[in-house]
Symmetry: D2
Subunit: 356 residues, 4 copies
């Protein structure tokens, strides 16, 4: 605290307001001698880029990342890596009209209550644009994890009340919705379009899975892997809930149903027959897939007229203009992946010191 | 990290294995000149004490807390406060028989994978007994919060598949189940007894509410109040999910349904007409009640025979003896309250520095 | 850790290699609603700017600071403030010739031993240019302190073996040496010129004083005000020693000589008759002036031919070209002031929470 | 912060007032599977024990350390290790008489200014007795370092104005003064006796050397090895100055004198011909001996009558009774060794993560 730093060993500090000069991140603790180019980072950033199609916001940001420090001749130096994206397509005028109104579902009032001042242009620091810095840092975390065999993949499993039926990871990258179920794809898209046509928005649920995480990551008792993941995920704008493994369903079960049986697998590794625990028991990874669900609320910025008050407490109508996603889920997927990667790389590094 | 410290300004560090000499906590950062006696702390501890009735574990610990430092003539000194509870009723023999088996649903294997060693007596550090230290520290946090008008109350809202229908906070303290609904009380108790009679256990859901939290607490972007609460709650043993406000339900809604309308209240304060957000928007408290749900998995220790493997990877049966709660929910309530209190007191202190 | 962050509540994270794209700093925890312009920061930066006269390095950096975030309409937002200075006058060619040699007195070998890689251009991250970020952040810290009446001033009290005789704070700003003694000024300058003429360099001692620091700052036992000052000062490149008050002289004294007598002053405040303690006792400020000395080693980059080895361990001669200060002391003064300011503002904010 | 925690990966948190129930420490982050017995820790504690002879305080504390957690069957578990020493010989009565007076050279007033309350019994938390917890934790740090070949040794090199002439490490353990020079031993002892006979006290200088520290430890730029050592050392009660290598003498030198020439040694290792730098350049260890000096002020508690004021600001005489060391240096040696060990073990662990 104060709250713009995440992680202990692979530590990121982010900055930037939505319509300020830039958003960016310093990564401190990235191991030295890692191959790194801005292109690799750009690739991850492009996943959360606005303006991709009708489903998502029309803001046309190029969002080019620049490396300001920490990399020399395409190798990390062990010194802080600074990644910066300049804000180029900010249109602050539309916000000027509502700068004294508290937008429903937004943090306008909360920021004023906290700081006594607020950058009203595009949501300022509370904008989803802040997550760009997380994705940029997460790209490096993912690369480190990939090098040791860990893969992280996220996808949308529910939009509004429509759920997917099956998970085909190979389908995810092929569609902008980041949906893993080809058969349910049209139905999910329709759910978003319905909301959009009614000048409304809709929420959804994302699943993130981490494959091949070795057993032993997580620091009891307060930095359990599950606890740090929960902080990381809940820090993403619009997230209102997180569960690991069976999560809230586990609460309705019997112990005999929920307990995962320990077995020796064919490859000689120890694991569990089922994975209700979602890969984490006692806050420590078991070697099974880590499975996380996050609940995304519907985008608060909707075109529908809403009631609210202004800074003087007077009731008024508000109509929110600007370019807003009718459903934030698709663009939240790479952010969630990034946060999971940041947690895992921290715990991976930290676990190196548990034995001499 | 390493993971036995929680909080930045009101910082606690806990220690102790279930069957070791003692469990305890150092609280660093408690403001000076606060009236404090061990009796006040004891009162909170008694809420999570084992051996209260048939519903909960039979272990007969007196669990007397002793103040080892930081308090002089019943006033806090501003120096670290150390609270210690000696372990007196530990019965390690029953664990000796299964010390080489991996109990299903328990962290035995995960601890060994991490540390290469494990205190098998009563679960060691992974025991729920560790939470005693949190409740002791939380008692002081609660006192500070009470002094500024903040009340925290938790209760059980679901056992297995049975949900309560209404919330009467005044009923909670009157029953060992910590149920807020007099009419559904018997049904919830029966759900636990059913599990117990079948040598099984059952999970449930707890709600914690914080009243009168001022607007402005929470540190964007990674130490959002919601994010720190998520870490705190998910660090409690057996918790598999957390949601704020409408949580996972919000994901199924439209924006027009989920947005809370800003209003000026009769007392002149700004607030919202509804509270789908659960008192936190953009990671900052809004002044409305903070509402948290946590999913508790069924107690993994069940009397029913289960299959597992031993340290050599050989399959075997396991029958867990000892004194185990058929449902951990009632005793998890004071722990959840404590964790919420610890988060709030930290953010309350931290928020003091946002203005000069 | 890792080591590019300083401070807990007023927390800075710096980045940048000497000949990279830029050096900069994120300040997280600056209170909101503070008036702030880049001009104010620039003014402090100009004090440590190279190319001021013959006494200091000839590198002609304009060193213009730009605010990338955290300030809106000339007010701080409470969000992270990012300050960046682009590197414009880097001349890396001269370093290319010696990129495989270990410069005596420099960290070349140490960096390679640590990271297995090194940015040899201008010293990379180990360059004194890194301190620019400290001065920029320190400018904001100083402003906050000034607002509450605390003044920090540093000056050179010794060059080589020549010491000043008296301290006239008002003289310091009038000369580039930052010498507080008009009568000894010429002699100190001559000491530097002598070294320079012999293709050599010379060290010196700086004193920093903080006036009007309220009693009560400092956190026993490990974050004593003296301890945090020691870390801060010793983290400055080229510093090899620090003392508070009488420091090493105190070690030669009797208790009856070194003890400062407590008195009630004419203004009713409690203080001490003498100030051997340098304003800190038991790690907490007493209300008296805080007095710090720091020992600066002679600039390691000298024109004189020296012996060394290359990366293969082969002995060779080295002649260091480039633009180097014959004495770093004058430019280290604003850096030392900045570090003291950063420590004090942290402890000032932190002390607000010791009472409810 | 708050200030009772030291270290990031091998993290200690200490507690306890001088005349409270106990003093102790939690060590979080000690690697698992280390052999550990209380006897080993006791051995280090005995070095700083009071009541050893006429030279040091007469307080007869047995100071038996007890392990409360983290060790099972003489092996560390990876969980927090708690070490506690009960206070048994506290004689608070002598302090009652002066509880409203501000003892010269003591932190009484500073503590009151900070906290508004003070445990006047034996100095409370400001007592040198607090360092017992550091030595206990340091014993474990030393053991880890010894296992990897690092040795730390401290000794007294100056008492008042009398300096030693040569260093024989093997002589140190043989005398209670922890003097490394057999020939100067009597003279140093006499310096202490002289002070004592005059109801006075005397200061001194301690040197601590760390042998066989590998090159590469230290985290630029704020957690330089030198910076963290400076914080660690300056946090020890009564320390007023610290220098690394030539320290303040370096400030009087020319670069050509102070630069250490890089050489390839007979064993093939790279190092320096001289060691003016004291084993640290650019904040990173070079592989040469780390050499630290610390200045200890004379014990403030002297039998001589002194002038002071009481809490009402009224001038009065004070005569300090009780059992006080005429020179704290001998007992400060193990404390300094412990702090150096804690810094090194932290940096050793941290450095493991700089490479994947």
């Amino acid at each position: 605290m104060p709250g713009n730093t995440f992680g202990e060993l692979f530590k990121i500090t982010t900055f930037g307001e939505s319509h300020g000069k830039a958003v960016g991140v310093i990564i401190d603790g990235c191991p030295a001698n890692l191959d790194l180019s801005s292109e690799e980072i750009q690739k991850e950033l492009d996943k959360r880029r606005p303006g991709q199609n009708l489903l998502v916001t029309q803001r046309q940001e190029e969002d080019r990342v620049e490396i300001f420090s920490g990399v020399f001749e395409n190798k990390t130096l062990g010194t802080p890596i600074t990644l910066i994206v300049f804000n180029k397509d900010a249109q602050s005028d539309k916000y000027k009209l509502i700068k004294d109104l508290y937008r429903p579902g937004h943090a306008d009032y909360a920021y004023e209550a906290k700081y006594g001042i607020r950058d009203w242009r595009g949501g300022g620091r509370a904008s989803g644009r802040e997550t760009l810095a997380r994705v940029a840092a997460g790209a490096i975390a993912k690369k480190i994890l990939n090098n040791i065999g860990i893969q992280i993949i996220g996808y949308v499993i529910q939009i509004g009340k429509v759920k997917i039926k099956k998970i085909d990871e190979s389908f995810v990258d092929s569609n902008l919705l980041r949906c893993p179920d080809k058969e349910k794809y049209d139905e999910l898209v329709q759910e978003i379009k319905n909301a959009q046509q009614e000048n409304d928005s809709v929420g959804g649920i994302i699943e993130v899975v981490a494959h091949n995480v070795p057993a032993g990551l997580g620091e009891p008792v307060f930095n359990k892997l599950s606890a740090d993941l929960a902080q990381a995920i809940m820090s993403i704008p619009a997230v209102k809930g997180i569960e690991i493994g069976d999560g809230f369903s586990a609460a309705t079960c019997r112990g005999s149903e929920n307990n995962d049986q320990w077995i020796k697998k064919n490859d000689g590794k120890i694991g569990t027959k089922t994975n209700h625990a979602g890969g984490i028991i006692g806050g420590i990874s078991t070697g099974e897939d880590i499975i996380i669900h996050l609940a995304i609320k519907p985008t608060p910025s909707i075109a529908k007229t809403q009631k609210t008050i202004n800074r003087n407490g007077e009731e008024t109508n508000i109509q929110i203009q600007g370019r807003h996603d009718p459903c934030i889920c698709p663009r939240a997927v790479p952010v969630a992946e990034a946060m999971v990667a940041l947690v895992l790389v921290n715990h991976y590094l930290l676990n190196k010191i548990n034995h001499l």
